[in-house]
């Protein structure tokens, strides 16, 4: 039987029909394998689900008086990530960030690669970043407003070099 479980358990025991591959070459002029640009890419579904969960949090969600996550910031986060994914994924691949909320109601996105770490705080009106490449708080850390070209200047820094 072909069972699939939480860890994708797929023991196929019976012969299955196979695909007939008709060529391995660029398709003819009238067809293209390029996909259309969706508003929410399926590879980002887990992140959107996490943002949905964050959006349901109420004030004092952590028991320490934290603000309710800002709904505008959640929408801005969705757009920020969709734009970055479309730009980066076809070129150098993609890694979904860890998403959470800050005590001020911002959305916090975190990526790490080796000792490098990038954290983006998405607020309703402004977004900021912190990047670090070691434990020293002064010499190995930089922060500031999130630049327009952050995908190039920050995310690619993290994963490309």
């Amino acid at each position: 039987m072909s069972t699939i479980a939480e860890r994708a358990w797929l023991p196929y025991l019976h012969a299955r029909p196979t695909a007939q591959v008709i060529r391995f070459a660029p398709p003819p002029d009238a067809v293209s394998a390029e996909t259309s640009m969706a508003a929410r890419e399926p590879n980002l579904f887990p992140l959107h689900e996490q943002l949905n969960r964050i959006g349901l949090l109420q004030r004092n969600w952590d028991g320490y008086g934290s603000a309710r996550p800002d709904q505008t910031a959640i929408e801005s986060t969705r757009q920020l990530i969709e734009g970055a994914y479309r730009s980066i994924a076809p070129l150098i691949g993609w890694q979904n960030p860890h998403a959470s909320a800050s005590e001020d109601g911002e959305i916090v996105l975190e990526w790490s690669h080796g000792i490098k770490r990038l954290t983006i705080y998405v607020g309703p009106h402004q977004s900021t970043y912190v990047k670090s490449w070691g434990p020293h708080l002064v010499n190995e850390m930089e922060d500031g407003p999130l630049p327009d070209d952050w995908v190039v200047s920050l995310w690619a820094w993290l994963f490309v070099g």
């Binding site: 039987m1 072909s2 069972t3 699939i4 479980a5 939480e6 860890r7 994708a8 358990w9 797929l10 023991p11 196929y12 025991l13 299955r16 196979t18 695909a19 008709i22 398709p27 003819p28 002029d29 009238a30 067809v31 293209s32 394998a33 390029e34 996909t35 259309s36 640009m37 969706a38 508003a39 929410r40 399926p42 590879n43 579904f45 887990p46 689900e49 929408e75 801005s76 757009q79 734009g83 479309r86 730009s87 980066i88 070129l91 327009d148 070209d149 995908v151 190039v152 690619a156 490309v160």
Partner: protein, 252 residues
């Protein structure tokens, strides 16, 4: 009722996209798109610029040196969304994409909303020729049992050789590019296992994108008539990829 016209009570469509591309203007001009976006502000109050990363590769001065890569970003258009996020409109230099997010209504509604938006976009780009038209339907099917027999729910699934020393996988991704000869177009079918939105469920994405290029001499009416055909083909493909067990799930 034929299979391709079946309407389900809980259609698993998370997003439907109509995309029509044009030859982008040279040099790039975003002011036209900005004006168009502004004219649609009442219906689409959420607006933000869309950016794209470009890679430039510079040839090395000598053969023993590696080529250098430069990343840069460029604005390609604007992303507009309704206040409730039910619809998203991408106004790009190279065309328009209109997305109907969940809950899906029906093709007639979706098409009727998209066509006037296209006409406005087209009016602002009268000299540009259309290059590609496409329909993409992204479905997320949640199976309420773990473990499950995948062939109980899908007629399309990967075959894993029983000779492989281990049968376990930690993710499933299937991607097919299938020319549709009768329509002279391409269907790209992607099927992935994704994180389930609810505990005790398995979740799969069935993503069907059908597109046609080489439409430079088509009129608008020809494009929209063809999109109707693509919609029928999309339904045929979807029905061919699922089983009755899934039909029961999405018709409750």
């Amino acid at each position: 009722m034929t299979l391709q016209s079946k309407r389900y009570k809980s259609a698993p469509i998370t997003e439907a996209v109509i995309e029509i591309r044009l030859q982008p203007p040279a040099p790039p001009d975003l002011s036209t798109l900005e004006g168009l976006a502004k004219s649609l502000e009442k219906d689409f109050p959420k607006q933000s610029p869309m950016q794209f990363v470009q890679v430039s590769v510079t040839a090395p001065p000598s053969v023993d040196q590696a080529p250098s890569q430069t990343l840069s970003h460029a604005k390609i258009g604007f992303r507009l969304a309704k206040a409730d996020d039910s619809r998203v409109l991408q106004l790009r230099r190279d065309g328009l994409a209109y997305s109907h997010l969940a809950p899906y209504t029906e093709w007639a509604v979706f098409r009727a909303e998209a066509e006037p938006l296209w006409q406005k976009y087209r009016a602002a780009h009268l000299d540009a020729k259309p290059t590609r038209c496409a329909l993409r339907y992204i479905n997320q099917i949640n199976i309420p049992e773990i473990p499950a027999e995948i062939e109980d729910y899908f007629a399309l699934y990967p075959k894993i050789s029983d000779k492989l020393p281990q049968q376990d996988t930690v993710a499933m991704t299937l991607s097919l590019q299938m020319p549709q000869r009768d329509l002279e177009c391409m269907a790209v079918i992607n099927q992935n296992q994704v994180e389930a939105p609810k505990p005790g469920h398995l979740s799969f994405v069935l993503d069907v994108d059908i597109s046609r290029v080489g439409i430079e001499n088509w009129s608008d009416s020809e494009i929209w008539a063809f999109l109707d055909k693509l919609r029928d083909r999309k339904n045929e493909i979807f029905e061919a990829c699922i089983t009755d067990r899934t039909r029961e799930l999405i018709d409750q």
